[in-house]
Symmetry: C2
Subunit: 334 residues, 2 copies
């Protein structure tokens, strides 16, 4: 008998295997098979996007956010990267008996504020309580529905040779914030999460550059996981330019101290885009015009088809493979 | 400081207070305020129903079903009682490290079979793993989207004076199945859950009697909770006729043994309907024509407005109040 491991809950290879071996065959349908973050569902001529995400982050409150803000942003962002306009959220909580109501209230307030900020409504919910020890405090599931404007082009969600790879801001904040809050690294000032709703900046980008090939928020497994998934999906080679990857000084320092690579750290307010290089500068300008996008940068290119590979050119000119993360090195970061 | 209690996760008064004090104010919007099982969301002229439910049932496998079948039926039924045609489901799992993959596979298969039976698709999903002890095995969230046909009348979801109260079948099976499986009561043969998708029988009913006032599946808190919620909502008096309530012999015997009232036991394949008494016989005929409805019966009437009250006439002619269940006497039945 084999068992679920923590690694299978990460964004990496083992997670993918779990999904491919268990969920895809069981629930077999074309939409699920695409393994996009949100499903696009035909609806008598119109289309909605539908997504779901459960949140088990530990600690529940961290610099820059909390589990409630995360639960709203995570689902809003999954809808936004599908190209849909996030509209309606559901909220289901599993709560351990003995959980302080004050804390629950803080989390609800945070969810409500974040929903207002993102312009979405939480329209239905459900709560289960389990006995003490039945779960670790509080888990939140949010599912979401997004709408495609009828005139709108559906993103192909396929990177192509000749596409530039863009990242919408400096990376690694969420993963490092959770890690340092949990392990009490005591960075001063504390490193804040980047958790934020991305629908408005994505809307700006898509208006300026409707030709975008694909979008993905860089959560579990970080930018490295997104790029490896794209390379795998299209059997293409993506070449990163390491020195172009925007990393803030405090994240770079913390990564050096801890021996971590920011490419693998989770983000909750950053996305990766692929767009034909011809349009890349226009996309960067659109991103720079938004508060959340001021550090946006072109970090690489899709160079050829044939082999699924992500590699990087280091500052010293060497080529190095950027591997798919194996599993979740840091569980419960979302 | 006050704390979440197990009772707050039940279908009763304390659960309602939790929702009214924490979720409604925080997420304040008209659709949530209605506290229907599914939200009806405008969608550029069309409307969808949207619902969510988390499942933490213990044990995960029980006579007549398992957590997977329950997770699909629960959400399908929430959509069906809203009058919508269930279409798309999401599935998010929180899994404890060390959970056997074989069991996960069985659960996935069961979900897939139930989805096929109900005619819905599970179109997107998410999985989180937590460390050993972080949750009790496996929790499943399903959210669902249902569609309203454009010609279709939206149910008022308000009972009115002069309405008959119908129940779609004999009651108490799910609650008793879980309870006896958990406590090893050793009934022979074991009492099976009634867990089943209700969308087809509800479709039959609504085609035959479009005048239905309201529908609700009688899950946590049983038929007693549904009727008390309706009485509360409309400030009306509902009079039950105890001898008309369909209860199978094995459930009646088990209830007698354990000192339980089947009106308070959870069902996962039964619903309650209110419809003007003029149409009640036609509704019963429609229900009797379906396998799941062969024991359907008229069990009472909405007699007057003014006071929120559910009472019953016993077989001996006495009047007795049927109270709202206080909380969850039997946690984790779904």
């Amino acid at each position: 008998m084999s068992f679920v491991s923590l690694a299978m809950g990460g964004g990496g290879r083992l997670y993918r295997r779990l999904v491919e071996e268990y969920f895809l065959p069981a629930f077999a349908n074309a939409e699920l098979q695409k393994m996009n973050d949100a499903a696009v569902c035909g609806l008598s001529g119109d289309r909605i996007a539908l997504t779901t995400d459960s949140f088990v982050v530990q600690p529940r409150f961290f610099p820059g956010g909390d589990i409630g803000r995360l639960a709203v942003c995570g689902t809003v962002n999954d809808l936004a990267v599908s190209g849909a306009r996030p509209m309606y959220l559901t909220c289901s909580m599993i709560i351990e008996a003995g959980f302080p109501l004050e804390e629950l209230a803080r989390i609800c307030t945070s969810m409500a504020e974040t929903a207002r900020q993102a312009g979405v409504q939480i329209v239905t919910g459900d709560t289960k309580a389990v006995e003490k020890g039945g779960c670790d405090g509080l888990f939140i599931n949010t599912a979401g529905v997004g709408l495609f404007d009828s005139a709108q082009r559906i993103l192909p969600q396929r990177p192509a040779v000749g596409d530039a790879i863009l990242v919408s801001g400096n990376i690694g904040y969420h993963g490092m914030a959770i890690l340092s809050a949990r392990e009490n690294f005591g960075f001063e000032p504390p490193i804040p999460s980047d958790v934020a709703p991305l629908n408005q900046i994505i809307d700006c980008l898509l208006r300026a550059v409707p030709q975008i090939s694909c979008l993905r928020d860089a959560t579990r497994g970080g930018v490295a996981a997104v790029l490896n998934e794209w390379a795998q999906q299209e059997q293409c080679h993506i070449v990163l330019q390491r020195e172009q990857v925007p990393v803030a000084g405090e994240i770079a320092t913390a990564c050096d101290l801890l021996g971590l690579d920011p490419l693998y750290l989770a983000n909750e307010g950053r996305f990766v885009a692929a767009v034909n290089a011809v349009h890349a500068q226009r996309a960067i300008s659109a991103l720079h015009a938004h508060t959340l996008g001021k550090d946006a940068a072109i970090i690489g290119y899709v160079t050829e088809q044939g082999q699924a590979l992500v590699s990087e050119k280091t500052v010293f000119g060497a080529n190095r493979i950027v591997d798919m993360p194996e599993g979740e090195r840091f569980p419960r970061i979302c």
